[in-house]
Structures are given as structure tokens and as C-alpha cells.
Symmetry: C2
Subunit: 212 residues, 2 copies
């Protein structure tokens, strides 16, 4: 039985917001893509950005590409669940896009950095917060080196930053240690399945069961 | 990577107590057997009983068969996590058997009735409590009828009892609606996997990661 069938069986209900974060190079992007490909009923949030598209990127798939003026107007109007400026470009999560998916019954994954996740958490206590951690700092260093874009100095900054970010793990409900990406993705999927079984989410269903 | 490998990767730790309960005929026994067969590192608790073995039952596999005097002495000595008397026979969960498995790193499933689960919960707050519910009372009635051992009167008592027991679902952390036994077993397995990822269980591992 698919998740959709199960939802049809009971009254249709709002999806779950799943916030996935962690230090960069811990592998959150890879893990999220595996989960998305495994679970056709899960949607990934799509960010708006003012940076130009790379040649392989599609508007409405990888990002919504917008200009700076409209992004700044969006900030004024409270359009974003969270946003940040990185190297002069804005990136933000459009609230309405996410809300529409949730209201249509889809679970939505937000793959986001530590700062963005902290902002989202302030207004969305009912979300699931999952921290993706590397198995060791040595392995994290190896993964940063594999990207091959960092000088020794940049590497030191990145590692210190990752070290500091690890202390944020306590703010999350779950920690997934990404030693193997497929195991990590299965753990994320298990967390989503388990959260759907939490008593506070199913109280109405118990009432429905008693009435049938 | 199996659960055991993953445990070896980090320091060995105590297993998790998983208490599975629900109204009778909701299918908790069937669901537990599927989970046990899927997950070789999970152990089922074995109860002691004073009733005689049926011809297909093996001592130490289905039950530990003991005499009434030794069971009653066990009660005096606080030997049981919970016990009950049913149709003149005692049934109880031996504390030491369960503790030894947990201390050896095995997760242990206790498949137990609502009253037993309530007793276990009093002294084991850190366990995972999962309530197995039927998809509807109509379906529960069908399952009781399929067993074929009930008179109309017994049926009415059983259904009323199940109806009352459904109100205990609130005391559990998770509810698994057993419409399809394989889906239900997968949900139980997901809950166990997710609980292993809970931040409070992994705090020491984050410290370990930072040190490697």
C-alpha cells in the first residue's frame, strides 16, 4: 500500500514539514535526493535565488530564478520561511510554495543550512528536524578535499565551521550519521514513517476507527 | 551495513526495550513475528507460565514452563517485569532475561496485553511503547469471528473489551494501524530505526565524532 492509498483510506490530511540540515559536506544533498527518488509522494522545497542559472539548471526545478528587486520586495512582505545572502546573492524558501504542498497532503523536505533551519524552527515547531552528521571529522575533511575546490586556509575555516556547527545537533530531534549514504537515506525514510505513527498525529484516526 | 556492524563501529551500547500492545485480535502477534524474522538482531521476550506446554510448544522457545510454587516464589522476589493470572494459570515476563538481552546490546520486543504494558511502563520510561490498532471495529469483529471460537455472547464481551482498550492508545508513543500486516511490520521496524536516531540517544556519538 503506498502512502497515498493510506491517506485516501483515512481523511486527507496536511503533510509533514521535514527540515534536513547539518554541516556542509556531511552529505545532506545526496541523502535528500535518494529519499526523494525512493518516495514519490515526498516533495523537495525549491528555493528562490537572485543568482543566475547555471547551464544545467532549470527554473522551477532547481531554483526559482528571480531578480533582486522582487526578492527584496518579498523580504518586506514576509514571503520567505527563511532567507540568506551568500556572496552577494539572495537565497530564500518561499513560504506559500511550501504551504501549498503541505496543504495538498504532501510531505515536504527542506534541505537547508544550520542558520536557515534555526529560523524555520522559530515558526514551525511541528516540523521534523533531522541533523545529518559526518561519521568523523577526518572523513568530513576527506569529503571536502574530494570536492577539490578549497585552499589549505579555506579548508581550515570550513573544518572549524563544521566543528562549531556540530554543536547545533542538540537542537534537532534526530541525528543521522552519514557513514553510508544509502543507510542514511533509509534512516531518514524510517524517521518520516515513524513520525506518521506518532500518537499525537493519529488521535483523530483512533476516533474514526471506533466509529466504523 | 547491519545493525550489529553499526554498533561495532561505535561503542557497544544497551539495546532498546520495545513494548508492543493493543486489543486482542488486532494482530500484534503476527506483526511481531514478521519484525523478528526481518531483523535478526532483535529478540522477543519469552514469558514464564505455569500452564502445561501444548504439543507443538518448546520450553525456552515459546515459553519457560515452570510450576506454580516457583512462579509464586518469583512474584515474592520481584522476579517479573509484569505478570497476570489468566484462567488459573500464571504468565509473567522475567526481568533478568530481558535485562541480560538489553545489556548484551539486543533490542527486545515485549508483546504483551494492555494491562501488562501499563505495569511495565511504570518502571521503564525509556522503553518504546507501540499500540497496534485494528483498522476498524468491523474488521476486528471479522478477525475474532475468523478464529471461530467465540459464542455471540463472548463476541460481544470481547468487542466491548477491545473498544475500551482502544482508549489506552493515548498512553503510547506510537500507534500502528494494522490494516495490512506487512505494512504494519514495516512501520514497527521504522519506529525502531527512528528511535535509534533520536538525539537523546546519540549525544555521546556526536562527542565521539568530534574526537575522530
Amino acid at each position: 500500500m503506498t502512502q497515498k492509498d493510506e491517506m485516501d483510506f483515512f481523511e486527507k490530511e496536511r503533510g509533514i514539514l521535514i527540515v534536513i540540515s547539518g554541516p556542509s559536506c556531511a552529505g545532506k544533498g545526496t541523502v535528500c535526493r535518494i529519499v526523494r527518488d525512493d518516495q514519490p509522494d515526498i516533495r523537495m522545497s525549491i528555493s528562490e535565488t537572485t543568482r543566475g542559472p547555471r547551464n544545467y539548471e532549470k527554473d522551477g526545478v532547481d531554483y526559482f530564478f528571480v531578480d533582486k528587486a522582487s526578492f527584496e520586495q518579498g523580504i518586506q512582505e514576509g514571503k520567505y520561511l527563511e532567507y540568506a545572502q551568500v556572496y552577494g546573492n539572495y537565497y530564500g524558501t518561499p513560504k506559500e510554495f511550501v504551504e501549498n504542498l503541505l496543504n495538498s497532503g504532501y510531505d515536504v523536505i527542506l534541505e537547508i543550512d544550520i542558520q536557515g533551519a534555526a529560523k524555520v524552527r522559530q515558526n514551525n515547531k511541528e516540523g521534523i528536524y533531522i541533523f545529518i552528521a559526518p561519521p568523523s571529522m577526518k572523513e568530513l575533511r576527506r569529503r571536502i578535499e574530494m570536492r577539490g575546490t578549497e585552499s589549505e586556509e579555506q579548508m581550515a575555516i570550513r573544518l572549524q565551521c563544521a566543528h562549531d556547527e556540530m554543536s547545533n545537533a542538540d537542537d534537532y530531534s534526530y541525528i543521522v550519521i552519514n557513514q553510508d549514504k544509502d543507510v542514511a537515506a533509509k534512516q531518514v525514510e524510517a524517521i518520516i514513517t515513524a513520525e506518521k505513527c506518532r500518537t499525537e498525529r493519529l488521535k483523530n484516526k483512533v476516533v474514526e476507527i471506533l466509529g466504523r
